[in-house]
């Protein structure tokens, strides 16, 4: 019950932050523009996907980590009360990730309601996953680095790597080892990156998947199979749970 109380308390604070509503408004406006410019379902979906894959991790990780640093004093104050450390951190995490997910949903809602496709539901789902994952990662970084500047830059580097550089790495591997059968390696490399997983989750449900050519069959077979879905779901869940647990573990032992 105390956890719920802490979560709700944080929630109330978050609702009052106007910058966060701007995030929802931005997504909503972008989605609206896409809808206005093109009535084509696939085009709107893919444009929203591109935005989601870039913006959701960035906003989640950046906002969460600055919020964590900014409320450091308040956390210390809270901890002088008879509450557990893990509860305080978990409460903050839940409030942040749930509220950010809610804002994301709000932002993409017009497009989702307009088309109601399975692919749009997957888009929402992957947006939720990314929000939880990057909030958890922000907490991990925030707990490990005392200095705000350092923590924020690490968070930015992490975002840059997963959203951008990792794909470059995959491409280099493909380019360098093009003479070998690489399907399994490539699948392995995508499984370790939540952004790639979220992208494939949606893209494989659309017509664009045909652009993958022959490899489409391989990837569809893997990600469509029970084992493949299990592995990708597991990877996404681990990406959210493991950083969070590490953060909690570290926070409990930390000298504040």
């Amino acid at each position: 019950m105390r956890l719920l109380g802490l979560t709700l308390f944080d929630f109330k604070n978050l609702v009052r932050i106007k910058a966060l509503w701007a995030y929802a408004f931005f997504l909503w406006a972008v989605g609206g523009v896409f809808l206005y410019l093109s009535g084509d379902e696939t085009k709107v979906l893919l444009s929203l996907l591109s935005i989601t894959l870039l913006i959701v991790p960035l906003v989640s990780v950046l906002f969460s980590i600055t919020h964590l640093y900014d409320s450091a004093n308040f956390i210390k104050l809270l901890l002088s009360q008879p509450v557990k450390r893990s509860e305080v951190l978990l409460g903050k995490f839940l409030a942040l990730s749930v509220f950010l997910s809610f804002l994301f949903l709000l932002g993409v809602l017009p497009a989702v309601l307009r088309f109601r496709g399975e692919a749009f539901l997957l888009l929402v789902l992957s947006g939720f996953f990314l929000t939880f994952i990057y909030t958890a990662l922000a907490f991990l970084i925030g707990v490990f680095f005392e200095e705000k500047a350092r923590g924020v830059s690490v968070a930015l580097i992490l975002w840059l790597y997963t959203a951008l550089i990792h794909d470059g790495f995959i491409l280099s591997v493909i380019y360098l080892f093009g003479d070998y059968p690489l399907e399994r390696v490539v699948i392995g490399l995508t499984l370790v990156n939540p952004v790639d997983l979220a992208r494939l989750l949606v893209v494989l449900r659309t017509d664009v998947a045909a652009l993958m050519g022959l490899s489409e069959a391989v990837f569809k077979e893997f990600f469509g199979s029970g084992f493949g879905s299990f592995l990708s779901a597991l990877s996404l869940i681990l990406w959210a749970i493991v950083p969070l647990l590490l953060a909690l573990w570290r926070f409990r032992r930390k000298d504040l």
């Binding site: 870039l54 794909d167 491409l171 493909i174 893209v203 490899s215 990837f219």
Partner: protein
């Protein structure tokens, strides 16, 4: 009782002296079509007035006309080849031909014509046959206005081709509709034939498939939503004009696959929403002019084994990738096309862009050589790479470019 109407004798007046008419119906004197054929002499007309006939195979072995009124049904009962024509000069029209046999050893057809000349097969409806209309060693025939619907079940293994020609020449295939067969229209060793106004859609494999069929002409046909699009192979001097290749979408589906085609002409066609508009594999000296490529995954893919082709005055509109190749060289000519993604300028206002257009995106080049890179479709990194490449074209190793891109769409449609 159904009687011949007044107009029938009138129509046949000029030929009255030459040929007799034999009527077949439930209450006529002749109740069986095979019996009527037996009675008929060369040049006679056998007129079938409605009804359903289960006579095994109808053997047309004389130069006669078989005419159905009110679409009499010829039923193969899932066992027989329904109609077999082995004589020249046969007219077969106005029938419903259904339920041919299915076999893994023989090509059982609804209508099979063997070793004949000058046949006319017109305005028939063929349903649920293994093969549809099958012509073997036939010359000077016309297939016109037939509607063929395949078994549409199982897979391409248990469905034959719609219109199948083997070793034929000078055949005209006009205004037929073919659905749910294996290949809509299939040619092997078919020369100097003319294919016009047909609709071939939703077939298991190819809408049109031909091999070793030189000097054929394809005009105003529509090939839509076929399993693998259209494939034409090992052929010289083909003319493809005013056809539509639409919505052939899938990992290994093509609007038009050119495999070992040479000295051919592809003009005034529309390629709309195909995974690949045209894939050129071993294609030589072919002219691709005045075509529209709209909303395809790739408009044109050219493999390194294709050379001396000319691609000119086409419109490339809103394709994900315009041209893709796996070659660093460019032995083909791309000139004076309109590219909707062209970002150049035209200072002297002569309608031709002042800087060349490079239609090969970096990612499509990589994808052509490394299919595994498909996993990065729609990745932000890849989009960024393409953007950088189009601004600083250093990385791209291909010489393929259009030195004279047009500023406005080509108006080839009159």
């Amino acid at each position: 009782m159904e009687r011949p109407t007044l107009s029938l004798p009138l129509l046949s007046l000029p030929a009255l002296a030459l040929c007799a008419e034999i009527y077949v119906c439930e209450r006529c004197e002749v109740k069986s079509i095979n019996e009527a054929i037996k009675r008929a002499k060369a040049g006679d007309k056998v007129i079938v007035l409605g009804g359903t006939y289960r006579e095994g195979t109808i053997n047309v072995n004389k130069p006669i006309s078989l005419i159905g009124k009110n679409y009499p049904t010829l039923d193969g009962e899932g066992k027989y080849e329904v109609v077999r024509i082995t004589a020249s000069g046969v007219l077969f029209s106005g029938f419903r031909v259904v339920n041919s046999g299915v076999s893994e050893l023989e090509d059982i057809a609804g209508i099979k014509v063997v070793n004949a000349r000058k046949c006319v097969i017109k305005d028939n409806v063929l349903k649920n046959n293994f093969w549809g209309i099958y012509l073997a060693k036939v010359r000077d025939c016309v297939l016109e206005g037939n509607v063929l619907e395949g078994r549409g079940e199982g897979s391409e293994v248990y469905t034959g081709n719609g219109i199948h020609l083997w070793h034929c020449s000078n055949v005209k295939i006009l205004n037929n509709t073919i659905r749910r067969h294996r290949d809509g229209i299939y040619f092997e060793f078919v020369k100097k034939s003319h294919i016009e106004g047909n609709l071939s859609e939703e077939n298991w494999r190819y809408g049109l498939h031909f091999m070793f069929s030189h000097d054929d002409t394809y005009v105003r046909n529509t090939f839509r939503r076929n399993g693998a699009g259209v494939a034409v192979m090992y052929t010289k001097r083909v003319l493809m004009k005013e056809n539509r290749f639409e919505e052939n979408w899938g990992g290994s589906s093509y609007g038009l696959l050119l495999k070992a085609i040479s000295d051919s002409t592809i003009v005034n066609n529309v390629f709309y929403k195909n995974t690949t508009g045209i894939l050129m594999d071993e294609t030589q000296r072919t002219l691709i002019k005045h075509n529209d490529f709209v909303s395809n995954g790739w408009a044109i893919r050219v493999w390194a084994n294709s050379a001396d082709n000319t691609i000119t005055e086409n419109n490339f509109l809103g394709n994900t990738f315009e041209v893709s190749t796996n070659s660093k060289e460019n032995p083909n000519t791309f000139v004076m096309n309109y590219w909707s993604s062209y970002r150049g300028y035209d200072l002297n206002r002569d309608g031709i862009g002042d800087i060349p257009h490079r239609p090969v995106k970096l990612f499509s080049y990589i994808l052509e050589n490394n299919p595994e890179a498909g996993v990065l479709v729609k990745s932000f990194f890849v989009e960024l790479l393409n953007r950088i490449e189009s601004v600083f074209p250093i990385v791209i190793p291909t010489k393929l470019q259009d030195p004279k891109p047009l500023m406005r769409r080509v108006r080839w449609r009159s």
